[in-house]
């Protein structure tokens, strides 16, 4: 056992020794240690290098607020977690930890030169320095700064661990399981409330884990804690979550908690959950988050061996570790005296207590003097000495040798969650800190996080808060007190101490971002008045520790420089997360296959078996083309296109959005919604419908069939299905509630098999029962009911290819059988499955638009050649008044036209800009842009659709398409390239 470990005491298990390595060197610790306590037990104080100046840094705290001791813990190549706080890393046998931000080694770090060059790096230096030449920013400055910045390295391998998520509801959520939190949970549960009690540490107890000398209800505090925790754990209405940080407080008492399940285990089971994200919705919240001790700001306050007094006490009492052999306490409050007395009792020599208060006196000072400790009242601290470890401290001009400096600037309530919940803070002059004043949520703070200190007070405050929370939920409970005896004398208001400005040496305010007093003074000198601006300029409080040990000192300093009271300067925003949260916890199961639902059509497996290449269309997988051996996409698409034009193709159109519009007023409803006349549509007939938004711009399109007098089958674009239904439902419920009509999504009810091509009728004929396929009985844009290949079917005669075409709709589960029957029947006719790419080419050859490709949310029907669809006699429809506005009717709007490149082999880039003459230097004002462009196999040349200003008047003109390296000459044509008369449709 090392010289720094006490012989007994604390919560470590002296029988269980654990091996670990730090920077490759083997050490030993005990079960119950953190990495920080184990290192200190071995006399290791130097654990990292600072962010900017690469100064040697030690362990400042014993908890989540640690700014310095950031380490990387490595289990294997994929399990390497950077930026963990050594004060929170629980030791396990075989733990491998490494320091960060140093090269080549922690002891000798080249980056240390930054410290010597520090006059070159004042606050805001990168705003001032890396300005010129401008070109150097992208090539030089940014890459170098990015490499120099950042702390640990992110692992490059995929995270192999499992992360879980859980939603939970409770009456009372208690955050923090110190005395106040335990008392709150107990009181709420006793009243009958369902309680969740979470705490970020490995075990509940909070400050009691540091060994309070008092008795509670006649028991030693430690025994009382064990009993209270056991009782809560046994209570079925209480869920206790250890190692669980409440990191975010969202509206309506919705809190995010992250539970660390396996990081403390030497060899977690292969499939175990590493972290679990809890989303808790609580009727009432009790925050019992405790308080955070604040450092003092003096030159060299960052040297390894300089530690918060409370942390040193925690290492001693909880972990049985003496953080040094000879210590000096520098304090501005009574609160730190207990630490000095405890360390003194444990055999650490206390060389002096330097009390910065001019008239330090009272029970604590007397107790220290009784213990033989020299107390220097009104002391002035000059700075520290030492290299990688503190070796002395200068007090009022006198240098005192030591290997440990304890400091305490008082405590700041942890108001982070309260402030996240938009609760209002108020400055307490007596405590010199911000405390919660008015809650915005159904929330109450208890104990040290609202400035109520001392064991008896915290227990009483917690019990009252827990009972009040339960009562607010409607439970009745009775008040219950705790009898506390033997508590140390209460501390004088232990608030934070504004730092004095030192002239020499670096006095750090923000340890993690290396912000010194001088940086803050500079910011004030340069005219920054808002604390939010000072924060951004100096980066104070912006590190991963969120300024838990720096914000209050920075604020005090800035307020002093500006000559304003602290509350007038205000405070910066407390942001979530309270401590960093892994992406894994936030993602949970949403990774790989489960990242997002993958939607497949009823015929998906058939397409897979045919070797289809798929494309993602929203969440859908759609077959893009069906390559044969040796074919690339171009060859496959050309073959598929020719098959449809010359024989027959089959296409899976199941993703098309479908809505059943049913009710006596169905026709009236659609008539009001779409631009077309639907009142006059006969039963058994279809019509191409165009839907506008209120602003007159094209929103969606699709074929609408009237199946019965009161029943329509509306199709939408694949991507528009959900939003069109939502828009329809909105109008139905809010604009025309008097109409008797109802909407039902039927997208997934139907498998849709499009059979297209001159031979389509011959393919379907033998499969159809009860449907007359004769053109006179089932002309273009008609629908019939019957059976196809034995399945009940709706057969639409519609075409998105310009060929004779049918769309067979059968119940989804019948899709595969019907598809295969169609393929079998079509084999003799050369039937060819085709995909979305071929579909796009075929429709472009016909000039059929795709909403979202030809249109961009600013096209009215006339712009894209759809003015013919508008029902002229209709009194109104959605968007009608908007398309009649003068601005919409003016000449020069972009209009849909075709483009033929002079070189028929050139396939233009979609999105390419057009000019009316070549060689215009950039930036040019284009006359339009290409919206669709393909090689057309049936025409033997490329085709393109474009939106061009005054396009229809330009037909026959030559325009120039801007491409990398020059302009391509193209002729403006009508937007229909194939069968402009439409003879094939009506075959």
């Amino acid at each position: 056992m090392s010289a720094f470990r006490t012989a007994s005491g604390g919560r470590v298990d002296r029988a269980r020794r654990l091996r670990f390595t730090f920077d490759g060197r083997a050490w030993e610790g005990l079960a119950g240690d953190t990495l920080a306590s184990a290192l200190l037990a071995n006399g290791v104080h130097l654990v990292g290098r600072s962010f900017k100046y690469h100064r040697p840094r030690g362990i400042l705290t014993a908890g989540a607020e640690e700014p310095n001791a950031l380490v990387t813990v490595r289990r294997d190549a994929a399990r390497e977690t950077p930026n963990l706080k050594a004060t929170q890393v629980e030791l396990y046998d075989g733990l491998v930890a490494e320091s960060q931000n140093r090269w080549p080694s922690l002891g000798f770090d080249v980056g240390r030169v930054n410290d010597l060059l520090s006059p070159l790096f004042p606050a805001g230096f990168y705003y001032k320095t890396f300005m010129w030449p401008r070109s150097a920013w992208a090539r030089l400055y940014e890459p170098v700064i990015r490499r120099a910045a950042g702390l640990g390295r992110a692992p490059e391998a995929p995270d192999p661990d499992r992360y879980a998520q859980r939603h939970a509801h409770c009456d009372v959520l208690v955050v923090g399981a110190g005395p106040a939190g335990i008392a709150a949970a107990r009181a709420a549960a006793d009243a009958g409330a369902c309680v969740i009690l979470c705490d970020e540490q490995s075990e509940p107890g909070g400050a009691l884990l540091d060994g309070a000398p008092a008795q509670i209800d006649g028991l030693a505090a430690g025994d009382w804690l064990a009993r209270a925790v056991a009782a809560l754990a046994a209570d079925p209405k209480v869920r206790m979550l250890a190692r669980t940080t409440a990191f975010g407080y969202f509206p309506h008492n919705h809190l995010g908690l992250v539970e660390r399940c396996t990081d403390h285990i030497a060899a977690p089971a292969a499939d175990s959950v590493r972290e679990r994200l809890w989303q808790v919705r609580a009727r009432e919240v009790v925050l019992a988050a405790g308080a955070i001790e604040q450092p003092l700001v003096f030159p060299g306050n960052d040297r390894p061996g300089v530690m918060l007094a409370g942390a040193a006490r925690s290492y001693l009492k909880r972990y049985g570790v003496r953080a040094g052999t000879r210590a000096v306490l520098v304090t501005a409050t009574d609160a730190a005296y207990q630490a000095a007395l405890d360390l003194h009792a444990a055999g650490v020599a206390i060389a002096a207590i330097a009390d910065l208060r001019p008239a330090a006196a009272g029970v604590w000072v007397e107790a220290a003097r009784r213990a033989g400790i020299e107390v220097l009242a009104g002391a002035a601290i000059g700075g520290t000495r030492g290299g990688r470890r503190v070796s002395g401290v200068t007090i009022s001009g006198r240098t005192i040798a030591c290997d440990l400096v304890l400091m305490s600037g008082g405590y700041a309530p942890s108001v982070h969650l309260f402030s996240q919940s938009r609760g209002r803070l108020t400055w307490s002059d007596s405590m010199r800190c911000f405390v919660p004043s008015q809650s915005a949520e159904r929330e109450r703070s208890a104990g040290a996080c609202r400035g109520v200190y001392g064991l008896a007070a915290a227990l009483a405050d917690g019990a009252a808060a827990g009972l009040a929370a339960a009562r607010a939920c409607g439970f009745t409970g009775i008040e219950r007190g705790y009898a506390v005896a033997g508590e140390s004398a209460t501390h004088q208001a232990p608030g934070a101490t504004p730092p004095a400005v030192a002239d020499r040496g670096k006095a750090f305010v923000d340890f993690q971002n290396d912000v010194t007093i001088r940086d803050l003074v500079l910011a004030a000198q340069e005219g920054f008045r808002s604390i939010e601006h000072v924060k951004r300029y100096t980066t104070v409080g912006m590190a991963t520790d969120q300024g838990k040990t720096s914000n209050l000192n920075a604020l005090g300093l800035v307020a002093a420089r500006l000559g304003k009271p602290v509350p007038d300067v205000g405070h910066t925003t407390f942001r979530m997360p309270y401590t960093p949260v892994t992406f894994g916890a936030l993602a949970g199961a949403a990774r790989g296959e489960l990242f997002d639902p993958v939607r497949t059509t009823p015929m998906h497996e058939v397409a897979v078996a045919r070797g289809a290449v798929f494309e993602d269309v929203g969440q859908w997988k759609r077959a893009r083309y069906f390559p044969r051996a040796g074919e690339d996409m171009h060859a496959a698409v050309a073959r598929e296109c020719l098959a449809v034009r010359n024989a027959c193709g089959v296409f899976d159109a199941s993703t098309l959005g479908k809505i059943a519009v049913v009710g006596p007023d169905a026709a009236e409803f659609l008539n009001r919604l779409y631009v077309n006349d639907f009142a006059g549509l006969g039963v058994g007939r279809c019509r191409y419908g165009v839907l506008l938004r209120e602003d007159g711009f094209v929103y969606d399109d699709g074929v609408i069939a009237r199946l019965a007098a009161d029943r329509f089958h509306v199709t939408t674009t694949t991507g528009g299905a959900a939003r069109v239904l939502a828009m329809m439902e909105d109008y139905r419920q809010t604009e025309w509630p008097g109409l008797a009509v109802w909407l039902t999504s039927t997208t997934e009810q139907w498998a849709v098999i499009a059979v297209q091509g001159p031979l389509a009728r011959r393919v379907i004929e033998p499969l159809a029962a009860g449907i007359d396929l004769a053109p006179s009985a089932l002309p273009h844009m008609a629908v019939a009911h019957g059976r196809i290949a034995g399945a009940p079917a709706m057969l639409f005669r519609v075409s998105f290819t310009g060929e004779l075409g049918y769309e067979i709709n059968v119940p989804a589960a019948r899709g595969v059988a019907v598809w295969e029957a169609v393929c079998a029947a079509g084999r003799a006719h050369g039937i060819t499955p085709y995909g979305t790419e071929t579909m796009h080419v075929l429709r472009a050859e016909k000039g059929y638009i795709i909403v979202g490709q030809e249109t961009d949310g600013t096209a009215v029907p006339d712009d894209v050649g759809l003015a013919w669809a508008i029902g002229r006699k209709k009194p109104d429809f959605v968007g009608k008044r908007s398309i009649e506005r003068a601005g919409i009717r003016r000449a020069g709007r972009k209009q849909l036209v075709g483009l033929r490149t002079r070189d028929p082999k050139i396939v233009l880039e979609e999105g390419a800009q057009l000019a009316d003459r070549p060689g215009i230097p950039a930036p040019m004002k284009p006359v339009g842009h290409v919206t669709s462009s393909y090689a057309s196999a049936v025409l033997g040349h490329s085709i393109a659709l474009a939106m061009i200003a005054g396009g229809r008047a330009r037909i026959g003109q030559t325009l120039f398409v801007r491409v990398p390296g020059g302009d391509v000459e193209a002729k403006v044509t009508i937007p229909v390239f194939y069968d402009p008369e439409g003879a094939r449709l009506h075959a």
Binding site: R162, Y163, A164, Q165, R166, H167, A168, H169, C194, D271, S272, V273, R276, Q279, R281, G588, A589, A590, E593, L594, D596, P597, V598, R599, T600, T601, P602, Q619, W620, A660, V662, G663, P664, A740, V741, W742, L743, T744, S745, T746, T747, E748, Q749, W750, P811, A812, A813
Partner: protein, 169 residues
Amino acid sequence: MPEPVEAPRLLPPATRFILQCGKDARDAAGRGFGLALPEAACRAESAGGRAALWLGPDERLLLAPAGLEDVLAGELEAALGGLPHSLVDVSHRQAALAVAGPAARELLSHGCPLDLDDAVFPVGMCTRTVLGRAEVVLWRSRPEEYHLETGRSFASYVLGWLREAEQGG
């Protein structure tokens, strides 16, 4: 660790209709369906292999064994007569899954943000909600059994998601 939960499973095909109409038509349809359609929000009625779930003020989901599309449509249309309504066959639109066992509720809590406590979500309650990133209709059909209806193309996602959640304790 959760208590044992039966493996989440896909349920066999079923006959499903969405009925949307006013109260009079609903009463008539209930007589045709052989089961009074629920009037209370988020409640389901079930008997004899048929069930009716409240999905909205006007909207009910009717469930029956597979293959009854034509029979049921006939019965319901006959019962509804000339009363304004919309009856749409959605048998193939959806797929159903069952999550059952003592830990079923906890399993659902992995991805369903609703409070499923007995007092809030008793047997016979149903609602539209989400599970992970899929929209589902969740119906507590028995004390320890939940019936989920989801879009046909979401079923494999929901099943995969439930299986992953089972692993996630």
